[in-house]
């Protein structure tokens, strides 16, 4: 019996489909207060006064806090290892102390016995703010952002090889400027938090935590001045993560601080308008990039300079997005010499953090756009340019000599050209290209393009897993991982079931509860299946060994002679119907002998290497030349995941990512006016793709190259659907309008495409 590799149904779905989900909004405690945050309505200004009198006098209002009430709480830290230079100076206080820096900056918090009363009272909080001129342009010349803080608090370089020599000797130099607009993950469920002071346990409990409960526990305890054992986090169901949900924002700290202070439960659910100005934005960056190229399109060197819009503050992710942008830009191509100079810029808009595929969505668009320019300028086939540059299978493991965290980047495995060819065959590329060419010949604007990308994930440093088995054989896997809807429970149960030879459906997977396991890394950076999967495998092997030892005694044979299948332990070589013992009986016997109540094995899986995997995407689009409207006719993703634990879930990740990526390519954008006022504050202005705008996403899940970084050979799978989507849509539009490489900015709105269509050829 094998269950790894099978598309078995999700364990998560019963609760979710029968209305038993427990999202933040579903949780309530007796006597709870409801928090409402009052946010700045100007982009930049000095607070003269905050009048809370009228709000505090409203019936049901318990308290109103302003910056002065929380002045002793330090600003929210950047995650260890993510800071660069002066970013520490740009951290955000949980309530503004003097200067508001973006529309949405928290100015006051109202606590009332009812959420509607809290909202009514919040309307009456009057902040008098002396407006200051805002910084809104990413490319404005550097100046002062705050006293002692530049609008450019950090500049960094990443690179290797002799870039200048390559350009000096170049047959051709191709250069362009490419930009990605500001957009972000927008989960169906807005953020929410519920904190309660537990008197009996003398501890603070933060319910509806998400994504990285153990990491946030450490950070929150430090902010609140608590010992670690005075704070526990409890994950609930989460309506979408995408990098946005589950970070520590001012709001979550306020809820916990208030619960501590008032010794009453405090609940907070943000509304959509708040979410769109308060939760992390992402993506916005502009690249000026050039390549030194041979006549056949082989790239000898890339020289890139880019500007990243961090917004008004550095948040928990620190410099993660620009750093990953710099190191992942070369993607699946050789690029023997490379230099990237990144400028982190502060502006008076919502702060930025990660969004699914951070740094890869953006730089895949930039890199593939550059390759399309190279093909166009040199008169080459765009796919040939990609082929000639792909890292070859005999170069694996491929080392890119960056210093990242003190060690070079190493692509662990893959046959990129073969994977690309399988994708081309799968989608019928040649016929598709012929068909598109014929349509263009007939006067239509229609085109298809294939782009390549590289994905990374599955990084450590560690994951702990404890596998416990009760006397009836019931298994619980306790992990420090989190579930953001991706199917973590199912995948972990599959790995455990495979190792123990039992049914996956009976396994309970516990996650996101800091009182159940000491350490954890949560669900970030596309790591859960790789890291927790391997830790689960390791711990389950320990339980298996104990069971076999007991069974060996019962069956009077050596443990090595035994196998477990279908929940039964038997002699491997014996015929069907030979001596056997059930897993449950072996567990009961083990526990009787040891007088324990559970067999428990805890193991740590450590890994200091990320997995790198190849992927490709195809978009086929048509453009209405008279309206500049774009229709996505086909969209396909190929991804080499090495080994798929649950192919259905991998496909789900690919489809979901692709839809979000198409949104960022065509629709989604946070725009601001010259005064720094946000223009995208509802779903009427921030356009999410719907089923009507997105075709069925065709998936090709490949298992060409298992990872060499972990015993199970697993690679990451959370982000690949989104990574190349912007690049693919842009390339296909370029093909359709007969101007390859002409799309220089995402999203491609009709107005922007019209400029291209009516502009000089």
């Amino acid at each position: 019996m094998t269950v790894i590799g099978k598309s078995v149904p999700r364990l998560e779905d019963r609760a979710l489909l029968t209305g038993m989900g427990r999202f933040a909004g579903d949780r309530n405690f007796d006597g709870q207060l409801h928090m409402r945050v009052v946010r700045s309505t100007v982009a930049h200004g000095r607070i003269v006064s905050v009048d809370t009198g009228a709000a505090a006098a409203m019936p049901g209002v318990h308290a109103v806090w302003t910056g002065a009430d929380v002045a002793d709480i330090p600003p929210i830290d950047l995650r260890p290892g993510s800071a660069l230079q002066d970013l520490e100076k740009c951290r955000q206080h949980i309530l503004v102390q003097e200067i508001v820096r973006y529309v949405g900056d928290p100015v006051a918090a109202v606590f009332a016995d009812d959420p509607h009363r809290a909202e009514d009272a919040a309307e009456l909080v009057w902040a008098e703010i002396e407006e200051l001129p805002p910084v809104v342009g990413l490319m404005d010349p550097p100046g002062e952002f705050a006293p002692g803080v530049s609008t450019e608090p950090a500049v960094f370089e990443k690179g290797y090889g002799d870039v200048d020599a390559a350009f000096a000797a170049a047959a051709h130099i191709v250069e362009c400027e490419l930009s990605v607009g500001r957009h972000a993950g927008v989960p169906l469920e807005t953020r929410g938090a519920l904190a309660i002071w537990n008197d009996a346990e003398a501890r603070l409990e933060f319910h509806a935590a998400a994504k990285i409960p153990h990491t946030n526990r450490i950070a929150l305890a430090a902010l609140l001045g608590l010992e670690l054992d005075q704070l526990h986090l409890f994950e609930g169901h989460v309506g979408g993560g995408f990098g946005v949900r589950g970070e520590i924002y001012p709001d979550e700290v306020l809820v916990n601080l208030a619960a501590m202070h008032f010794r009453r439960p405090v609940k907070w659910i943000e509304d959509r308008m708040e979410h769109l100005v308060a939760a992390n934005h992402s993506r916005e960056q502009t690249h000026r990039i050039r390549a030194a190229v041979d006549a056949d399109g082989l790239v000898r060197a890339i020289d890139d300079e880019f500007w990243f819009n961090q917004g008004a503050y550095a948040r928990t992710h620190g410099a993660t997005v620009p750093t990953v942008s710099a190191t992942m830009l070369p993607g699946p191509y050789k690029v023997p010499a490379y230099r990237a100079k990144g400028h982190i810029r502060l502006t008076n808009v919502t702060p930025a953090g990660t969004y699914r595929g951070p740094g890869r969505y953006e730089t895949s668009f930039v890199r593939e756009g550059l390759l399309d320019r190279i093909a166009a300028e040199l008169g080459l086939d765009p796919l040939d340019v990609r082929r000639v540059n792909l890292v070859a299978p005999d170069e694996m493991p491929y080392e890119r000599p960056f210093e990242v965290g003190g060690k070079p980047i190493q692509y662990d495995s893959g046959d990129y050209p073969k994977s690309l060819q399988r994708f081309l065959d799968h989608i019928g590329y040649d016929a598709l290209r012929r068909d598109m060419a014929a349509r263009r010949e007939a006067g239509e604007m229609a085109g298809a393009a294939v782009i390549c990308f590289l994905e990374l994930g599955g990084d450590g440093p560690f994951d702990d897993v404890r596998v416990e088995m009760a006397a009836d054989g019931a298994v619980e896997v306790v992990t420090g991982v989190a579930s953001v809807g991706q199917g973590a429970e199912t995948v972990i149960a599959q790995v455990c079931a495979e190792t123990l030879g039992i049914d996956y459906a009976g396994i309970t997977v516990t996650h996101g509860q800091t009182d159940r396991i000491e350490r954890g890394q949560g669900a970030r950076a596309s790591r859960v299946t790789v890291m927790t999967g391997n830790a689960t495998h390791k711990a389950a092997l320990g339980v298996r060994a104990i069971l076999l030892e007991t069974a060996a005694g019962l069956l009077q044979t050596a443990a090595e002679e035994l196998e477990i299948s279908g929940g039964t332990i038997r002699v491997a070589a014996a015929p069907e119907g030979g001596p056997s013992v059930t897993v449950a009986d072996a567990a009961a016997e083990t526990l009787r002998a040891s007088s324990g109540d559970r067999i428990a094995v805890e193991e740590t899986f450590e890994n200091d290497r990320a997995t790198y995997s190849f992927g490709a995407q195809m978009a086929a689009v048509s453009v209405d030349p008279r309206t500049a409207g774009v229709t996505v006719e086909r969209f396909a993703v190929a991804y080499d995941i090495g080994r798929a634990v649950n192919p259905m879930l991998v496909e789900g990740q690919l489809v979901g990512g692709a839809v979000q990526g198409i949104g960022g390519a065509l629709l989604e954008e946070f725009l601001y006016d010259e005064a720094g006022q946000p223009l995208s504050v509802t779903f009427a202005d921030y356009l999410m793709p719907t089923a009507m705008e997105v075709p069925d996403v065709e998936c090709l899940v490949l298992e060409e190259a298992p990872s060499t970084t972990n015993p199970l050979g697993l690679k990451s799978g959370g982000d690949p659907g989104i990574t190349g989507a912007g690049a693919a849509i842009a390339a296909a539009i370029g093909e359709a309008i007969g101007r390859p490489g002409s799309v220089a900015r995402l999203p491609v709105s009709p107005m922007r495409l019209r400029e291209i269509l009516t502009g000089p050829a």
């Binding site: 959420p115 509607h116 909202e119 009514d120 309307e123 509304d271 959509r272 308008m273 008279r626 309206t627 500049a628 409207g629 629709l667 725009l671 223009l679 509802t682 009427a684 356009l687 793709p689 719907t690 009507m692 705008e693 709105s749 009709p750 107005m751 019209r754």
Partner: protein
């Protein structure tokens, strides 16, 4: 995201609604389907003191042919227009227009009269009403007042209804069988507000256009009739080039076009040209089918 406190009162007849409006003046707002009003109340952009719910008004939702008029009860939900309700060219046009109005759940609640009372520049029904010179029938304690579409739309979200008047019925012409009607709209996603839309109709006798109506919405603050484009069509035989010519005339027929981040005025002018010609093509196709 909850509304500011308000008083909620029910009107079970148009006269009761009119009496409540007379009592509360501009403090009161009519609640019909609520699909525009309730969101702006939730955003607290609108904070009416009194909400007069007219949903319980008896016989407020209907489509009736009455001699040469088609009478639409103000409370008729959008969804009702998705299936043919009345015969004739206009009856055939309704489903093709209605499916462009937002999404099904919104069409289940939103009303024809509510759209006209809200007077959003991108409203399909407002454009249709202007195209066919609808008459808006408003009730107040003074009785009924009939308002021509040409006087009714005054600016974006502004119409000729007085504070104490409630829109109770919309009258459209019941077009004869020789009319063909079409519609076209451009937006970025299915169900979004139109960036530009056009309703076009013409009456054919012996293969020639003897009368034409062209209405445009989404492009300017109020929907308008492109009479110069209508003049291009009069007396002519339908053809692609004629429709292009009419589109061009329509694009030149209005001065002030809206600019927003979806589309500049210049882009809207181009879209007017395209949408008018496509609405005419749609009309021709619909006419041929009959």
């Amino acid at each position: 995201m909850k509304p500011a406190p308000f008083e909620y009162v029910i009107a079970e007849s148009w006269d009761a609604a009119a009496a409540l409006l007379a009592e509360h003046g501009d403090d009161a707002v009519i609640l019909a389907g609520g699909q525009s009003l309730v969101p702006v109340m939730n955003f607290r952009l609108a904070q009416p003191a009194v909400l007069v719910d007219v949903n319980p008004v008896a016989d407020g939702a209907y489509l009736r042919i009455d001699a040469d008029r088609l009478r639409v009860g103000a409370l008729t939900r959008h969804v009702r227009f998705e299936a043919p309700q009345v015969g004739g060219p206009l009856g055939a046009l309704f489903p093709r227009v209605a499916r462009h109005i937002a999404h099904l759940p919104i069409r289940m609640r939103g009303t024809f009269g509510g759209s006209l009372a809200h007077a959003d520049p991108a409203s399909e029904w407002c454009t249709l009403a202007r195209t066919f010179d609808a008459v808006m029938v408003a009730r107040s304690v003074r009785g009924d007042r009939r308002i021509d579409a040409s006087d009714y739309f005054q600016a974006a979200l502004v119409n000729d209804l007085a504070d104490d008047e409630v829109l109770r019925e919309i009258e459209l012409p019941a077009l004869g069988p020789d009319w063909a009607c079409g519609f076209a709209e451009f937006n970025r996603r299915a169900g979004d507000f139109a960036i530009v839309q056009s309703v076009a109709a013409f009456e054919l006798h012996d293969g020639r256009i003897v009368d034409a109506r062209i209405g445009i919405g989404g492009a300017a603050e109020v929907p308008w009739r492109a009479d110069t484009a209508e003049a291009v069509l009069a007396g002519a035989i339908p053809s692609a080039s004629l429709f292009e010519e009419a589109g061009a005339a329509a694009a030149e027929s209005v001065g002030e076009l809206m600019t927003d981040r979806q589309a500049s005025a210049e882009m809207r002018r181009d879209l007017v040209r395209v949408m008018v010609s496509r609405a005419l093509e749609d009309a021709l196709a619909a006419g041929v089918e009959r």
